[in-house]
Symmetry: C3
Subunit: 341 residues, 3 copies
């Protein structure tokens, strides 16, 4: 009858159930300032009210990844406290900007279950939705994790959801009013526009950042993700604290400014893998590959589909002969962003 949360185990999930995650959160310029201190983020739309206004928005929204981390962080106590592995993401879409002053909450629907053949764990698929104080959805995504069973027992019926390989360009949601027809390339930092990127093109983002313990812990706590594996040096035999995968996402995305300064807003998360663990002391670099491009109905706004790879090794290292990620690869993320045409 412990009062503390031991987390859910595989047998605690029921297909179709909706879990309302705890601790709503109001965001402000404080979270934005912390984000700028934690990551080399320079995207003009998330840095400047004046720039955002020149793009048709009322003010600068919170960075898309702030929204992602906040929504994700709330799910950790219910979804991944007993997770063995975070297996993947799919069908992620940003549906509405998050503004300073907004309060976010999140919930997850269990959409898939598959017990492993060893009977000791299983895979749980959830579709998570983040909502603002008006009940409007701001973000949704599917995530699947491998979770331990508390005890062996009968397997539930196996249900594996059908998931799109990527979000179709037609399904991207463009923020209301967004207009890049008067886009200021000089203030944004680079001249490259929609037409300058070719499918298949690879961009080395050049810069590297060496990670410190204090930084990744502050970042992870900021999103109220308090899973002990990120904070307690006595938790692993090697005394290392595992860095929250989302920290690597934000770091790589910020590094990608150098070459993708105009890929302003993330609008879809097609997929992603945390290929290898990241630890304090690792120097993270990033490269991107252009996977696809699409036009949109919004004035001056195009969409670009990108593979974003974070590595602690050399940019060229990617997959080994057996198809696995090279040990230096940390992240392989597939997303859509908006940029001026």
């Amino acid at each position: 009858m412990s009062k503390t949360n031991a987390g859910r185990f595989f047998e605690d999930y029921r297909l179709g159930e909706v879990i309302h995650h705890a601790v709503p959160r109001t965001v402000s310029g404080g979270e934005r300032a912390m984000y700028h201190a934690l990551y080399p983020a320079r995207g003009a739309l998330y840095s400047s009210d004046a720039f955002a206004q020149s793009c048709g928005l009322s003010e600068s929204p919170m960075d898309d990844l702030i929204a992602f981390h906040l929504v994700f962080g709330k799910t950790v106590p219910d979804i991944s406290l007993n997770a063995v592995a975070n297996l993947g993401y799919a069908e992620g879409r940003w549906l509405r900007p998050v503004w300073p002053g907004d309060t976010l909450r999140s919930s997850s629907e269990v959409i898939g279950l598959k017990q492993n053949s060893n009977g000791k764990s299983g895979v749980v698929w959830v579709r998570t939705t983040g909502r603002n104080q008006h009940g409007e959805a701001v973000l949704e995504y599917v995530r699947w994790v491998m979770v331990r069973r508390r005890a062996e027992g009968d397997a539930p019926a196996t249900v594996i959801p059908e998931l799109a390989k990527s979000v179709a360009a037609n399904d991207l949601v463009i923020p209301e009013g967004l207009d890049f027809s008067e886009y200021d390339f000089e203030q944004a930092g680079e001249a490259h526009r929609f037409g300058d990127y070719a499918i298949g093109e690879v961009i080395d983002h050049v810069d590297g950042v060496t990670i410190e313990e204090a930084e990744h812990m502050m970042a992870t706590r900021l999103w109220q993700n308090t899973a002990k594996v990120h904070f307690d040096a006595t938790n692993r035999a090697d005394g290392q604290r595992l860095i929250y995968g989302g920290h690597v996402i934000s770091l790589a995305r910020a590094l990608s400014f150098n070459g993708l300064a105009n890929a302003q807003m993330m609008v879809a998360l097609n997929g992603g893998a945390h290929a290898n663990p990241c630890f304090s002391g690792d120097t993270v670099r990033a490269w991107s590959e252009v996977l696809d491009k699409a036009e949109t109905d919004a004035p001056g706004v195009g969409a670009i589909r990108l593979r974003l790879v974070a590595t602690k090794g050399k940019i060229g290292e990617w997959k080994t002969d057996d198809g696995k990620y090279h040990p230096s690869v940390l992240l392989d993320l597939d997303y859509w962003a908006l940029l001026p045409v």
Copy 2:
């Protein structure tokens, strides 16, 4: 005739004098974001405007411990710069919420003096009051410290104030409008309410956090507590920076969310001891003991008196045979909090 502040010595204090501490401070969402980055704080009332509004407040106030640290930090240059030891706290009460935009100042009245028999130091008792920009008291507490004499000399008359062992339940100040009758336990994170806690019950808060130098220094500076012992690695022979005791208070209180998620607001500080020093690299854990419970006049609001213990060792370690704290115990804090009935 140095222009710098050498701090006060024992012989500089006069019974009854009131010291107005310097550097008023305006707080905003920035301080709240930093607090969330520095501590695993997840209390819903201090995280969400929407949640605070559902509890009858106009918006989310600043965390009680932000108020405490700000008021305390201002006293350091006048009270504890030459302190040998921070001996205790008593009769602490939060009197009014601190809202974003408020400006805090603090003052202390000397209420007790007792020179030590060695003639080289003495104990000073002060009652400190924090006030907002309207002159309204937001927090008061008694604190006593051992302070060096500048030179030997006649002892002042010994006056030891009579201090309550704990704040009486009747004297707790409930924030105006607070109403837990529509309390959302799901969003708060736990189902346990007033009736679920038994006096004498002990709760192990499970999680641990390993502290880094950068974190405790940023935390301590945030409250404008600039005592060199926390910042200057050359100050002690062992090259270690002593961690501000308040950092351990905030860390332990945040950890106690796991089991006490609904103990939303601190309303009284009955007593406290910084049992042993804390250093970078320590992994801090916490446990709580329910000391008392009381009803209040506010709708749906009960009060719970808790002992909060922070340790860098095992949860079971407490006091040694001679009655002293086990060397692993960092903090022993006695406080009242409000929770839903």
Copy 3:
């Protein structure tokens, strides 16, 4: 045809050209809170709306050095990415306060060029101006750096601008409405006023702060200065990250509160040298020398010209027999500040 920014080389600068630097930035209470966490800053005017209002301002402006770092940070990708050395500052003036909610951008005019005799590098002088969202100048300063050539080639005509040794007292811009006639010395933290400081007087600011990697990286990123030398531990053969010189400026200025608590606002930057590099683990101390004093037209407001020196050694260490800075000296800054008469 790389899409990433390789920075400008000496031959890329043309006399008289104006470079508009990228990424405008809106500031808020979040940046202020971060500043208080990063530096032991206690100046009352930048800490409290109530104090600022008692000095005739509408609210507390952002710290002068926040304005400086933001304006400077934007210039890095265009001016100093390929710099061998940051040689000096001159003719710096704060022209208008920066308020929470303001959006800053900056531009630089090339005002001098001189190729080095080796033909491999040259010195570039720029006059940088920071502007708010209304186009009003908030800060201007001259800076000169030594920059590599991409390839050897013809030298441009040598133009060395004439720069004032210091900003004349008559040219200092006092913020509109500033009035120190009701100045609250008790809340400001010290009693020393204009008349208490003598030209030639030296003040040891006593305290020391040991710097951590996480701190200087967060500070530097906060200003969107992402030059890899500050972040990538693999960039130098010795594995050390070079600390942004501005971090040392802010640290020293904050330390100078102890003895100069009433030197509230910086209004001119007469000159400055980053005498030696600073690294994580260094313990920084500071001392000041009063260089000059002047009256102003604003009620109760005087000006004081100060040399601010940061050192990682002893306070007495200054210059060696050959006139060079002692290896322990980190910073030698010459500025004007405003204080009550």
